[in-house]
């Protein structure tokens, strides 16, 4: 964790990391897609 923090700080200092991510506008749509895909995969015992 400490090493990752040091990398994160180095990236942030060089303008290579944001503290907040870019938001996906249709996040609800994406969540629904992933939920359905997980449901389909689970219904087939993880065999896609």
């Amino acid at each position: 964790m400490r090493k990752a923090s040091s990398l994160g700080l180095g990236l942030w200092r060089r303008g290579r990391m944001d503290l907040t991510p870019r938001r996906i506008e249709d996040i609800e749509g994406l969540k629904a897609i992933l939920a359905k895909a997980k449901e389909l995969e689970a219904s087939e015992g993880g065999q896609a």
Partner: protein, 325 residues
């Protein structure tokens, strides 16, 4: 002007911002237009498909569906990140081969109001577009400040050249496309036998010792050839070689200081753009000393330090020392 749909991917938004900046600058010179797809999402990087196959394909297919044209004509989607390129092209290829998987993916996509017909988006890597669609001659025509004297090790990494579906444009074991491009820019391209070896990917977070050894091999090979710079095309490779170079030195007692630049940054420099426009200065291992050898250091590093500004007349008085003698 040739137009393409553009998928920057998460890395190019921030960590690999210099790649995005320089490729957009270079594209303008080469008369290429990149039209970013709306509201794209992460491609899943290299891990998600190992955890959950169908959700991983659905995640990627959402981007393909957003990139697909409404009129059904094939679209060309440019992905500059090697992992994004691989995921997008692999998903499209496998969905074309497996109608059963396509059906399930489309059932999932329908939940978000989307649909994707495999094969309607041709995924292409930026390097291939530059080399095949623009061509070496057109690139050479834009070279204003040759990189003559800069010794460059061309590093492709392991993702872009393998597997060889989707009309592979280079040899998976010994690619030469970027070598030729750098040669056109005037750089002295060194022999780099590890050019398609793995950088360790996310191994730095899992088994650091193994990752550092993989990185050491890449750095040693470049140092053995007295390379000034390693040119890369992959944000993961750039991050590992750049941000962990100091850790490699500490772990192995080495003293490598080899800047890792994107090939688009070197193109921008050769096209006469200022280092700032090429995103130079965002790297952990500074490129300025290497670029100074060809007279292309960052502007502020060649400027003399600015004289201290005169104090405002209305500022509080500062104590003065009595004059000696």
């Amino acid at each position: 002007m040739k137009s393409y749909r553009y998928y920057p991917g998460c890395s190019l938004e921030k960590n690999a911002r210099s790649h995005h900046q320089s490729l957009i600058a270079v594209a303008r010179r080469l008369n290429l237009n990149f039209d970013e797809i709306d509201d794209w999402n992460c491609c899943g990087a290299t891990e998600y498909i190992a955890l959950a196959v169908l959700p991983a394909y659905a995640l990627v297919a959402r981007n393909l569906a957003l990139a697909a044209p409404d009129n059904g004509d094939p679209a060309q989607l440019v992905a500059p990140c090697s992992a994004c390129f691989l995921n997008l092209s692999k998903a499209d290829e496998y969905l074309q081969r497996r109608p059963d998987m396509t059906h399930k993916v489309n059932v999932a996509l329908a939940e978000g109001g989307l649909h994707y017909d495999p094969g309607t988006v041709k995924v292409r890597h930026l390097l291939e577009v530059i080399v095949r669609d623009v061509g070496f001659d057109a690139v050479a025509n834009q070279v204003m400040e040759s990189l003559t004297g800069l010794r460059v090790a061309p590093y492709y990494g392991c993702l872009i050249v393998r597997p060889s579906f989707n009309g592979a444009f280079d040899d998976p074991e010994h690619p030469t496309t970027m070598d030729r491009l750098l040669d056109v820019l005037g750089a002295d391209v060194v022999d780099y036998p590890v050019k398609a070896h793995c950088c360790g990917g996310h191994m730095t977070q899992i088994g650091e010792t193994i990752a550092l050894d993989l990185l050491r091999r890449l750095l040693k090979s470049a140092a053995d050839e007295e390379a000034d710079v390693i040119a890369t095309l992959c944000p993961m490779c750039q991050l590992n070689l750049d941000a962990y170079q100091d850790a490699v030195n500490r772990h192995f007692g080495t003293d490598y200081h080899i800047p890792i630049l994107y090939f688009t940054q070197l193109m921008a420099l050769a096209f006469g753009l200022l280092p700032e426009a090429a995103g130079i200065g965002q790297e952990f291992v500074e490129a300025a000393p290497a670029l100074a050898r060809i007279g292309r250091e960052r502007e502020e590093q060649v400027k003399k330090p600015a004289a201290r500004a005169r104090r405002d007349k209305d500022a509080l008085p500062m104590p003065t020392m009595p004059e000696e003698g």
